[in-house]
């Protein structure tokens, strides 16, 4: 053990991991193709301990990454090789819940779904609902400005964080935002949320809670082409109805979801559209009438309306399980989350299909149709030499396609490690330089989550099968 590490052990007598076996679970996040071995993992239990860890890193010029449950799909919580992982899982308490002011104050390791569960007795909930919500933490959601199925109407994480106590890269503490929905002066909190851990670590987060809608109306429509489902979305938008969510799944995603959770979807459908209205009962009832007409004339060959909360949850279960379900169809997959203008959805999907054929790799599509946020899942087998590289190349083409159509390389997963090379597709050198100046003003040594978001930087960590897998110790289904 080096003197520096011994120093860290004194700071974290019960919260330091540094043996290889202890580090293994932290080497990777949900972007499993990437892996890096940190020097150590610390498990702070308080704001002061996060400050101590950051100051230690600053003193020894060692890069670090804050981590929650490690569900980042963009490699956002991937360690820096030889750096420190500040794992916030022990800071997992709900500090305050104020039903009258409709706020919750949580530590960063608190789980997204737990916020809504804690608020439920008061008829309140926390709106952002990434598919990872049963496991992902508020700290990670904040760092990556997580989305979910309801973003068009309710916005992303950034629209639901009122305030945060943060540890800046120099170890100082800052308080950003307030309890008010309004502010005076530049929106510093708005900059901090979604900064992917590059500007500091949140240790206390004030969230805004919303009243639970009185009524839902959830429609599942099956189509014989993806195009018809896409046109149905455009027709809903044109009708002036603003649904809480509009989701589309293609046949491969339907197959996977059915195999995984048996949601009861029409298996032979080429595309499924889920539209959910929510709000005051009389309004939802009136809107449902209009929606019915729109869907009826959209060419759906089967339409189901959830008749109970159980039926509604079943429809959503299949959709929410789609990502992990695709794991059943293929040993590995890459998920992209590029965004295109809604009117370009059909064009984007046709192009993705063409690319899929050209690369000889299957692509399943599950997407937030209401906001043009695609989720192509590129299936590959990491054990076949060259297949990961082909999958990444295909993923890159999809990102470029999204930018060319006027969209974005990421709607909700963030840039992280995965998409940093594509930032120049979207932003000019001047744009990136301005962002980098902000980064360096707060973190001149670029220690905080080094190597993420900006192109270049640290060399990419090794990829391919896990060393234990290569050694035959573990196997994948």
């Amino acid at each position: 053990m080096t003197p520096a590490l011994r120093e860290l052990e004194i700071l974290f007598p019960k919260g330091l991991l540094h043996r290889p076996g202890e580090l293994a679970p932290y080497e990777s996040d949900a972007l499993t193709a990437f892996r890096a071995r940190p020097l150590a993992v610390v498990l702070p239990e308080s704001h002061e301990e996060v400050v101590a860890a950051v100051r230690w890193c600053q003193k020894h010029r060692i890069p670090y990454v804050a981590r929650g449950s490690g569900t980042s799909l963009s490699g956002g919580s991937l360690p820096v090789e030889g750096g420190i992982v500040i794992a916030l899982n022990r800071m997992n308490r709900l500090l305050r819940l104020d039903p009258k002011e409709r706020t919750a104050v949580v530590q960063p390791g608190f789980i997204n779904l737990q916020v809504s569960l804690a608020a439920a007795p008061y008829g309140l909930y926390y709106a952002p609902d990434p598919s990872s919500q049963p496991v992902s933490t508020i700290g990670g959601n904040l760092a990556f400005n997580s989305g979910g199925a309801h973003c068009l109407k309710y916005g992303m994480t950034s629209n639901h964080v009122l305030g945060a106590k943060v540890v800046l890269p120099d170890g100082e503490t800052a308080s950003l935002g307030s309890e008010s929905l309004e502010g005076v002066g530049p929106d510093w909190l708005g900059l901090f949320v979604g900064s992917e851990g590059l500007l500091g670590i949140a240790t206390e987060v004030t969230l805004r809670l919303l009243p639970k809608p009185e009524a839902y109306h959830t429609v599942l429509a099956a189509y014989d082409t993806l195009e018809k489902a896409g046109e149905a979305v455009a027709a809903v938008v044109a009708s002036g109805i603003l649904p809480g969510a509009m989701e589309i799944m293609d046949s491969l995603a339907i197959e996977a979801a059915e195999a995984a959770v048996g949601a009861g979807y029409p298996r032979e459908a080429r595309a499924l559209l889920i539209v959910e209205l929510e709000g005051e009962a009389p309004e939802v009832e009136a809107e449902a009438h209009h929606l019915e007409q729109v869907i009826r004339s959209s060419g759906a060959y089967e339409v189901r309306v959830a008749q109970s909360e159980a039926e509604r949850m079943k429809i959503w279960k299949g959709r929410k399980a789609a990502f992990s379900a695709v794991g059943r169809l293929s040993p590995d997959y890459i998920v992209q989350d590029g965004v295109v203008p809604r009117s370009k959805l059909g064009q984007a999907l046709a192009e993705i299909e063409r690319l899929s054929e050209r690369y000889g790799l299957r692509v399943a599509n599950v997407f937030h149709a209401g906001d043009g946020n695609l989720h192509p899942l590129i299936l590959y087998n990491g054990r076949v030499p060259g297949e990961l590289e082909r999958a990444e190349e295909l993923a890159g083409e999809i990102l470029r396609l999204c930018v060319a159509l006027g969209g974005s390389i990421t709607g909700e997963h963030g840039v992280g490690m995965e998409k940093r090379a594509y930032m120049p597709e979207m932003f000019s050198p001047t744009d990136l330089e301005a962002m980098r100046r902000i980064r360096q003003a707060l973190d001149p040594l670029e220690l905080s989550n080094r190597g993420k978001m900006f192109p270049g930087g640290e060399p990419r960590p090794p990829s391919g099968p896990h060393p234990l897998e290569r050694a035959g110790v573990i196997v994948r289904e």
């Binding site: 989305g147 502010g183 929106d187 044109a238 009832e285 990421t410 962002m435």
Partner: protein, 359 residues
Amino acid sequence: MNSLRPTHPKEVQEAVRSHPRLLPRGGGSKPALSSPKEGQVALELTGLSGVLEYNPGEYVVVARAGTALAELEALLRAHGQYLPFDPPFVGQGATLGGTVAAGLSGPMRNRYGGVRDFILGVEFVDGLGNLVRGGGKVVKNAAGFDLPKLMVGSLGRLGVLTELAFKVFPYPKATATLKVAFPNLGEALEALYRLAASPIELYALDLVPPNSLVLRLGGLPEALPARLERLEGFLGRRGERLQEEAEKAYWEGVRDLRDFGEGYLVKVALTPRHIPALEARLGAAPRRYMSAGHLLYLAWSGPVEALDEALRAEGLPGLILRGVVANPRIGLNSEGTFGLKVTAALDPEGRFERYAAPN
């Protein structure tokens, strides 16, 4: 007074590079923020005007920062859409850029959120004269630092806004308003809390001192009568109903902050918890609490120092919009090193007014 009127972002870049101190200015509807001080060159941005992209099916509009809100609003209305943060001073000539820089939203922000919740993309000239873009032109985007949000409320201190992209929504097909008087402030506040925690979806939830709530419903016309009944049932009292043209005219007046009379016009960010103590301090100042008690606009005729002190005592930040003052930021200003460092990164030479905290 020295002033420049660029008509292209390139001219804004040149202006920034060639003048040591500048003050960007839009329609001049918020004179406390747009009157140049000694040594400042005014950068008149109304020449940087026009809608650049608008496809109603995308719910996105992109326009130059000097575009008048009135012009944009007319275009959106023609397609049944609107800016859901409901910006004020439309009738007084406010521009998009000035609205973002001042960080202003109006009564209907209650339904879907404020200007920070609807800004998608930004192009601005930083203090070095670089033309920088952040965000995007689609309704959902998580790439790069959220520079669009950073600019909300920035008062021109981080750069000169040249182009903005917003998310827009369909305007409700019908609206109706209920004015309800309560016996006292306490009961009005209690009703405000109950409404805000209920599933009743209000486009506006305003508290008008001393003891009234003004509630605006929106949606499909066939559901409105039932919803109004339910609303009165929920409150346990009847109200005065406003409908049709009278209702629309009423809210346009409210939104443009027209009925506040003389004095300093001030925005305060707060939560409803602060209302009782503020009410005890504000005397006869005309005022209105919007968005379930999170946004206060008031007119102050006394010395500005007294208001500054009152807001400090309550721990609230305020922004003077109208009236001549040395520093429009009053009340709590707890800005720390985070803000100072970000400001220095974007304007290292200090070309823009910083409105530093007086304390």
